[in-house]
């Protein structure tokens, strides 16, 4: 009797054609059931509709023309009389107004430099522990800024000096990232000076106020403890700003004149304005929001009641009413004859508005922390602020990152609302001005698409960064 024992493996057969490759993918992802087939067809139909509607319009786009009528005649010439086409010429002709508002063209280098420095100053905050990423960001930004500076009008010596500075910053970002923190600290004052111009000493003198605060704190805190030293420091700084600030600045300006052309606030507009309001409100609202959240969690009845009242009031009214408060009511609430800049008023109100939202987000993060963390901090003998700084906040803020970033995105989108108090923001302010031009009457898709695209890039970038940060800070494993 002979038995058959197979000694070698058979080569496996290929799976059936419906179970592999493209066919399998299509079956599983697009045609798995009747409903799915219907959805797929619906999706394809939608896609087809959108593409056939928009693609010719995009492809027939005209970039150089002096008016809408010229645009249309060029499109009719190129693509036939019934063809539709985008008239991008309006963007080509007026892009600078969308970006800079009414800033004097010969001074465009100032906003360009301010924006470039913004990203450089952000590098240590965004990628503080990752010199490679920070260096990459700073060098790309520096290269782009140098290129933009080359394209706008500016004195040659200044261009060379600034380029050298930016290259140095890129080098520092790779090698000694910590040094860039100084730029970050100086940045607010530097930018206000760059954008509004005037005497550098005004900014230096305001900075000196913070110097007074820090000095008082450093000197007094070993002897008097943190709360009293901080209190005295704040009082000293406020006294400095109220009494000495102007005089010192004026005296220094007499001694060593260091001033550039001053620019009025009503010249700010377009995305320049959106970024001024957005960036300053974002950076100011987070600390205020954290303080409000702590106040809301506090054991002290009065502090808690005030925080809750403020947060609930602000969250209960539309931003638009806050903006109208800035433009209509502040004149009643402030001492007679105080008249300060509308942009500053708007920034303050927008900051308070988004601080309330941030407070709620941070409160959510605080509530998510187990009680044991607080007790452990107490057991270690940490005082309130040490516990907050070392134990509570790092964990609570980590949890609240997605919420905080979405508040920031919301805030940046909401900067468009300042149009209703008469500021020339890009979406409605500038677009209305451009569309009122007799040459461009009747254009609507193109400017809105342009503005929308820039908003999209900024907001989408922020949400992507928040995802990156969430991933980086995730310490649990799954």
């Amino acid at each position: 009797m002979q038995t058959f024992v197979r000694t070698e493996m058979l080569t496996p057969q290929a799976p059936p054609v419906t179970e592999r490759g493209v066919v399998k993918w299509l079956r599983e992802n697009l045609f798995s059931s009747a409903l799915n087939i219907g959805l797929t067809l619906l999706g394809i139909a939608t896609l087809y509709y959108v593409v056939t509607l928009s693609l010719p319009w995009l492809l027939n786009g005209v970039w150089t023309a002096s008016s809408l009528t010229e645009c249309r005649s060029i499109i009719a010439q190129n693509a036939g009389p019934d063809a539709s086409g985008a008239c991008w010429a309006i963007i080509h002709a007026r892009w600078y107004q969308f970006i800079y508002g009414f800033y004097p063209p010969e001074l465009y280098w100032r906003p360009v430099l301010a924006f470039g420095l913004l990203l450089v100053a952000l590098a240590p905050i965004l990628f503080g522990d990752n010199a490679r990423n920070a260096g990459l960001l700073v060098s790309i930004v520096s290269a782009l800024t140098i290129l933009s500076l080359f394209l706008v009008n500016m004195p040659m010596w200044l261009f060379l000096a600034l380029s050298a500075g930016l290259i140095l910053a890129s080098y520092l970002a790779y090698t000694r990232l910590n040094l860039l923190w100084y730029l970050t600290l100086l940045y607010p004052f530097l930018t206000v000076w760059l954008l509004w111009g005037g005497s550098l000493w005004g900014q230096v003198s305001i900075m000196a106020g913070f110097g007074v605060l820090v000095a008082a704190y450093r000197l007094l805190s070993p002897r008097l403890g943190v709360p009293i030293a901080t209190g005295i420091g704040v009082v000293a700084a406020v006294l400095w700003w109220l009494l000495l600030d102007d005089k010192v600045a004026e005296a220094m300006q007499h001694l060593i004149p260091l001033a550039i052309t001053p620019i009025e606030s009503d010249k700010m507009g377009g995305f320049l304005l959106a970024f001024i309001i957005g960036v300053s409100s974002i950076s100011l609202s987070l600390p205020i929001g954290i303080l409000l959240a702590l106040g809301r969690q506090s054991d002290m009845f009065l502090v808690k009641a005030l925080s809750v009242g403020f947060i609930e009031f602000v969250r209960g009214v539309p931003l638009i009413t806050m903006l109208f408060t800035a433009s209509l009511l502040l004149q009643y609430f402030l001492p007679p004859n105080t008249n300060f800049d509308l942009i500053l008023r708007v920034v303050i109100l927008v900051t308070l508005f988004s601080a309330a939202y941030n407070a709620e987000v941070v409160r959510g993060g605080l509530a998510a922390l187990p009680k044991g963390q607080y007790e452990a901090a107490d057991a270690l003998g940490l005082d309130y602020w040490q516990a907050q700084r070392l134990i509570i906040m790092p964990q609570a803020l980590k949890v609240s990152i997605p919420g905080i970033v979405s508040t920031f995105i919301g805030l940046f989108k909401d900067t468009t609302l300042v149009t209703f108090v008469g500021l020339a923001e890009p979406l409605r302010g500038i677009t209305t001005i451009v569309r009122a031009d007799i040459n461009w009457k009747g254009v609507y898709w193109e400017p809105y698409l342009f503005v929308g695209a820039i908003f999209f890039v900024v907001c989408y970038g922020m949400s992507r960064y928040s995802l990156y940060l969430e991933g980086k800070l995730r310490t649990d494993h799954n």
Partner: protein, 415 residues
Amino acid sequence: MTLAADAPKESFRLGMLIYDTRYRSITIQVIVLILALLFVAWLVDNTRHNLAIKGKDIDFSFLWRRAGYDIGQTLIPYTNDSTHFRAALVGLVNTIVVAVIASILSTVLGVVLGVLRLSNNWIVSRLIGVYVEMFRNVPLLLWIVLIGTVFSETRPQPKDFKVVEGVSKASMSLWNSVAVTNRSTNIPMPMLDRPLPAVGGIDTSLLFIIALIGGCIWVNRLLLRRARIVQETTGIRPVTWYQSLLVLILPTVAALMAMGFHLEYPVFKGFNFQGGISFDHAFSALTLSLTLYYAAVTAEIVRSGIQAISRGQSEAAFALGLRPGRTMSLIILPQALRVIIPPMISQWLSLTKDTSLGIAVSYLDLRGTLGGITLNQTGRELECMLLMMLIYLILSLIISAFGNLYNASVKLKER
């Protein structure tokens, strides 16, 4: 044997107000109270001075004077002879109408989009992803302004619909029932030939139809309950779908036919469309853009809510033999709702507040009447703004109160 002596009784020293945690909180609160009172006193004093300089006072009596302006969309009786108070009320109603309609539409659309975004269908989930990101990352104001502009600049004027010698420049859509002009959207209005007699100004026909539909739904539920009892006793579920269909549709249709239901089409007469229902573009643009924008936000909330339910739940449901649709409706959604509802409520809240953006298309809501025309006509900034903020605040507090009630009712009952 020595006993440990009690801790020495400390006499109170001034420094303890700051360094002793027992007293420090009182010190801080007193300081905060003083600062807060000083701040309020400063504001009040400034306001008093400023009002005196301008020769004004705080006086709400302007609310009962003649408003003298027209409002396009009035859902409660109003003429330009009515008072400013009445105008503010009309504005409030307009605000609420937009908020309610846009909330309902955006929630329905958003839930559908959120569920579809998670579907296995590659093309559909990608398309919806693009939609969601596109709407979420661009200011709401852009959509309002863009949709308003498209309505008013691409649509023909009403006079273009006039038929001159058998031809007109523009034609109505959907079988001559809907006319979209550059001012408004005109749709057919449902009418009854033989309505029930009105009692005391109340439309009894409408009440009757609502009651009828309610009754039909109730009968249908009885039917389903009987089917379930049969299923539980015999194990076989009787076929009920044709009975349900009959019960739900037939009585209502019969009643409508008996009362002579027909649609009144908008017709071009004179200078504009007559008959039918006419929606101002201010209203349509605002509602449409709020709906589209908040649908994207809702879709994200629904998606993350569903993804928050652990995968084990759906696997267990599949193991029990439930089909995907039933798994979603019986297992996943009831649990996901607990995660979804709180952010949804704050979405409705912000939608309500965002109706104030109607200013961009000149929609006369509360901000447009009380905080807009009334404010400009009477010059009473302080009173109008404070009143408007108060009303918005009350609206918000009502919505969040409902939200908190709901949250309390669906909270997990734990031991």
